[in-house]
Each structure stands twice: as structure tokens, then as C-alpha cells.
């Protein structure tokens, strides 16, 4: 550990965390001519980061020579599968031909260790300074205004007019400084993931892939993550497959099966086991994910500071859309622009930085959070139907509909219908459920 040089007031802005949101903010500000310092606690950017597996890249592609970025495979196909505990699978597969063409719907599997380091380098190339193995422990406030950060380095105080808090899901600094409250556990999910290594050919044969094409597979129902609000996922990389589960910490705390055991159960499901057999686990990882939606978004703008990315709760789960990397980047971009504008006016108060929040609210980020904000609460209310009864009913309905015996098909059809109607509570129940979830597909 070396002595920290005295950087006090040498910089226009401090960015806490060199993940996606932090590096985007640093890159945006550095391109605008600001002197920016990024403080990353890991040995290099990406070493402390975990995500499901898809990077959404429209803004990154605008900001960088994205062709050079370390990528794994683009999403050529998405599947959604309902799994019952008994072993049923009911699936839908989506593979539009346009996804196979550049820019591949801006959806790429990446590994964060590689990608985040490359992305932070883009900010450094633009003039930002990066220091690693340094944890920001507190904010320095003077007269109610944030004027810098404390770090765990010796003589670790560092002052600058603006601080961008891109500290991720565990936003200890923002919480300690009363810029936000710790999320309730029913608004946070735990995710565990393993990365398994196979021969490249094995992955391409097993998942019917070629070239850089990849599969993003999503699983719901209590065959995926037990009696909990959540799901399972599987993403194909070049030479590895990432598989994991993500579900509410509320459910994780109340049941005595640990997250790694839930993941093991998911892997044993007959729909999943053939996809992950063999190979070798090369890494296990876990992270908390803020899924509280618009209601648990903190105040984004403060005197001398803005909050971006996971720290700002910018994660979307609509049941169909599972996004966050794009929102982290978008928030870092708008925050970076707002800081540059405020500093150009010689101001750093909340009013001067407010365009960050306005721009984010006008963007798809908050628009989408507001539109789908109802989903997580409704999913929790309807847990038994959504994750238990429905996957089983769909499996049984499929069984009944295609049944091979000596009775006419209309009997099979009515049997299939009754399986679904039993689960939904009759026609009226089905109509109510359809109404309740109507916005899921709109």
C-alpha cells in the first residue's frame, strides 16, 4: 500500500466506483474537459462486480469504439420458461432475424471482470484518473454541502466540488451521509451465479449457436427458485455458461434453504439439467440487487453530489424485461452532463445539478420504472398463483391437450381448459388475473 499523493482540490469531480454508471459519468465529464478522479475499491474495475449476464449497449456504443470492447456473445435468442416443481416446462422462444445483424439489438453477454476494466480505460483515455484498492468511507460536508470524500488510504481525504456516487447496490456512503435510506428487504433480491466452463464447440452444439450468437434464457415458477418471488437465468458466453437464480431477500430470509441450495435445485430441474451437465464450475458469485422500482428511488441530486446506477435503485424487472446495465450507463451519462453544465456556471448546489434528475425522468429510465413499478408488488401478492399454480397448470394443460389415447380431441381440449381455469379460479378469476397483469405485455 503506497501513500496517496495529495490530490486535494486538483479535480473537478470525484466518482465513487468504477462500474458501469461510474465509468460512464467519468467518461462523459472527461470528454467535456473536466478533471475527474474515479475511486474503485477492487484491485481493478470489475473485480467486485456481479450481474446476471446481459449488457445493453445503445449508449455505450455511442460513447466508445464498442467493437474493441471485450464481449462474449450477442443475444440471438431469448427464451422464457415456466417450470413447475414437479418437472413441467412450458416455454416461449424469441429469435428475430434482425437480432443477428449489427448492432444485434444492443444486447451482449459480457464478463464484468473484462468489460468493466476496458470501459474504465476508455474514461482514463479521455483524461480521467483511476485509483484502485481504495474504498470511500464517508463524505465530507461543509455548511450542508458535500465537498469531498474520506477514503481508507492514509491521509485519505480528497476534496472536489462534486461527488458522483456510483457505489452500487450496497450504497454505504450515501446511506451514512443520509442521502438515502437503506432499502427494505422486500425491495432487494439476492442473486447467486456460477460460471461453468465447457469446450466452445460443446456450448455451440448444446445451445444450437454459431459464431458470436448466444442465448439468454429466463425461468420462472417454483421449479426455478422454490417458493419465492424470483426466477432463474442462463446465459451463454464464448467458453462458459453463466447460470443463477435471483429472488427476494424477504423470501430468502424466511426460508431455511440457502441461496446456493436453491441454485442447486434449479440445476437439477429436468428442463435445466441437460443444459448444464458436465463442464467445470470456475466461479461462484453473489450480489444483492435493488428491485424496489420507482418508489424506492432515493433523492438523486444533493448539494455537491448526485447518485447514479444501482445506488439510485435503477433496476427494471417487469417479469419480461430484466434490465439495469443500460439504466446505469444512462444515469451516469446524464449525471456527467449535468455536472459539466453546473460547473460551467461555477455552481454545484442541488438546483444547479437538477438537470440530471430532469433528464433522467424524461428518459426511458424513469419512464420504464414508473410504467412497470406495479409488477414486483403484484408478483409478491400473487406469489402462489404466479410461481406455483400457474406453472403446474400450464404443464398439466399441455399434457391434457396433446394426450394420446382413444378419446376425441374435444375432450382433451376441455380438460386442458379446466386445468388452467382451476388455477385461475374460473373464468372470472382468469379475467381478474388478466386485468391485474395486463400491463406486463404493454
Amino acid at each position: 500500500m503506497s501513500e496517496t499523493p495529495n490530490y486535494d482540490n486538483m479535480y473537478d469531480a470525484i466518482v465513487v466506483g468504477a462500474g458501469l454508471a461510474g465509468s460512464t459519468a467519468a467518461l462523459t465529464m472527461a470528454r467535456d474537459g473536466l478533471d475527474v478522479i474515479m475511486i474503485e475499491r477492487g484491485p481493478s474495475p470489475g473485480t467486485k462486480n456481479v450481474f446476471g449476464g446481459v449488457l445493453y449497449t445503445p449508449r455505450i456504443r455511442e460513447l466508445t469504439d464498442f467493437e474493441d470492447a471485450p464481449k462474449e456473445r450477442y443475444v440471438a435468442k431469448k427464451t422464457y420458461s415456466m417450470l413447475s416443481e414437479e418437472g413441467d416446462e412450458t416455454s416461449m422462444s424469441i429469435a428475430p432475424s434482425s437480432w443477428r445483424e449489427e448492432p444485434h439489438n444492443d444486447s451482449w453477454m459480457v464478463l464484468r471482470r473484462d468489460f468493466d476494466e476496458w470501459f474504465a480505460e476508455q474514461a482514463v483515455d479521455a483524461g480521467a484518473t483511476l485509483i484502485t484498492e481504495t474504498t470511500v468511507t464517508d463524505l465530507i460536508k461543509e455548511n450542508g454541502e458535500i465537498v469531498g470524500v474520506e477514503t481508507d488510504r492514509p491521509d485519505g481525504e480528497l476534496r472536489a466540488p462534486v461527488v458522483v456516487l456510483a457505489e452500487g447496490a450496497n450504497s454505504l456512503v450515501s446511506e451514512a451521509a443520509d442521502l438515502k435510506q437503506q432499502d427494505d428487504r422486500d425491495n432487494v433480491a439476492v442473486s447467486v451465479k456460477e460460471v461453468r466452463k465447457y469446450d466452445r464447440e460443446k456450448i455451440e452444439d448444446r445451445f444450437h449457436l454459431d459464431g458470436d450468437a448466444g442465448l439468454a434464457a429466463h425461468y420462472f415458477g417454483d421449479g426455478a427458485c422454490g417458493d419465492a418471488v424470483g426466477g432463474g437465468f442462463l446465459y451463454t458466453n464464448k467458453r462458459t455458461v453463466s447460470i443463477g437464480v435471483v429472488y427476494s431477500i424477504e423470501d430468502a430470509a424466511r426460508t431455511d434453504q440457502t441461496p446456493d441450495e436453491v441454485l442447486e435445485e434449479f440445476k437439477q430441474h429436468p428442463a435445466v439439467a441437460p443444459l448444464v451437465r458436465g463442464g467445470r464450475m470456475v466461479e461462484y458469485s453473489a450480489h444483492a440487487i435493488p428491485e424496489g422500482g420507482p418508489d424506492s428511488m432515493p433523492e438523486l441530486v444533493h448539494d455537491g453530489a448526485v447518485i447514479v446506477g444501482d445506488a439510485a435503485g435503477l433496476v427494471l424487472n417487469s417479469g419480461i424485461h430484466l434490465e439495469g446495465t443500460n439504466m446505469a450507463v444512462e444515469s451516469g451519462y446524464h449525471a456527467g452532463r449535468a455536472v459539466a453544465d453546473a460547473l460551467a456556471q461555477g455552481r454545484t448546489d442541488a438546483a444547479a445539478l437538477a438537470s440530471y434528475e430532469t433528464d433522467l425522468r424524461d428518459s426511458y429510465v424513469v419512464e420504464n420504472l414508473d410504467h412497470y413499478g406495479w409488477f414486483m408488488d403484484t408478483a409478491a401478492e400473487e406469489k402462489e398463483f404466479l410461481f406455483d399454480d400457474l406453472p403446474r397448470a400450464l404443464g398439466e394443460a399441455g399434457d391434457a391437450y396433446f394426450k394420446m389415447d382413444n378419446t376425441p380431441k374435444d375432450e382433451h381440449v376441455s380438460e386442458a381448459k379446466s386445468r388452467i381455469l382451476d388455477a385461475t379460479g374460473g373464468w372470472l378469476g382468469a379475467a381478474k388475473k388478466a386485468w391485474k397483469f395486463r400491463k406486463m405485455l404493454s
Partner: protein
Amino acid sequence: MSIKTPSVPDTPEVERETIEDRLYTVKYSDSGESHLDVKVEGICEEKCTNYECVNACPADVWRAEEGGVPTIAYENCLECGTCRFACPHGNVEWEYPENGNGVSYKFG
């Protein structure tokens, strides 16, 4: 929580890794002291009967002790933060390991 998924004929055997197997794949650098603790020992002893930190922890860091404060194997910690949200009494003292120590992912 669900019971074990019933085995279905012709489902391939898939390796069932233990938590030890899992943690063995993770690269750590030990900071030499715990970055985790409980805030008030009495709260675990007097108020907690169900060890929700133990249930929710994906890394076998929190381990139940009979009627007392859980033991904390901080060396296993993946820094996910789950325990700080999981404890219904808000009794988890949670910091990052100093100077970048702790978990260091190769893939992420």
C-alpha cells in the same frame, strides 16, 4: 421452500456442488480482520430465534450458534450485502474490507 425437485426419468445427473466446492472457486485476499459484525450482541441473544442472516447468506458466512450470536466466517464473504438487508432487527454491522481486500472476481 420447495421440496427437492422429484427426479424425472431420463434426466441427466448433474453435479451437485457443495458450498465448500463453490467457495473454493472464489479468489480472495484476506484483510486479516472481520469487516462484518453484529451491532448489539444482546439483540441476537434476546430477540432472534430464527437466524434469518444464516438462511439468506449465500456464502456460509453466518452460522447459527445455539441461542446466541452467530459466528461470522468473514473470510468467505462475497460482499453481496444480503445479510445487511436480511436481518429483521437491522443488527448487521457491514463494511467493505479495507484497501480492496476480500473477494476478487475473475469473471463477474
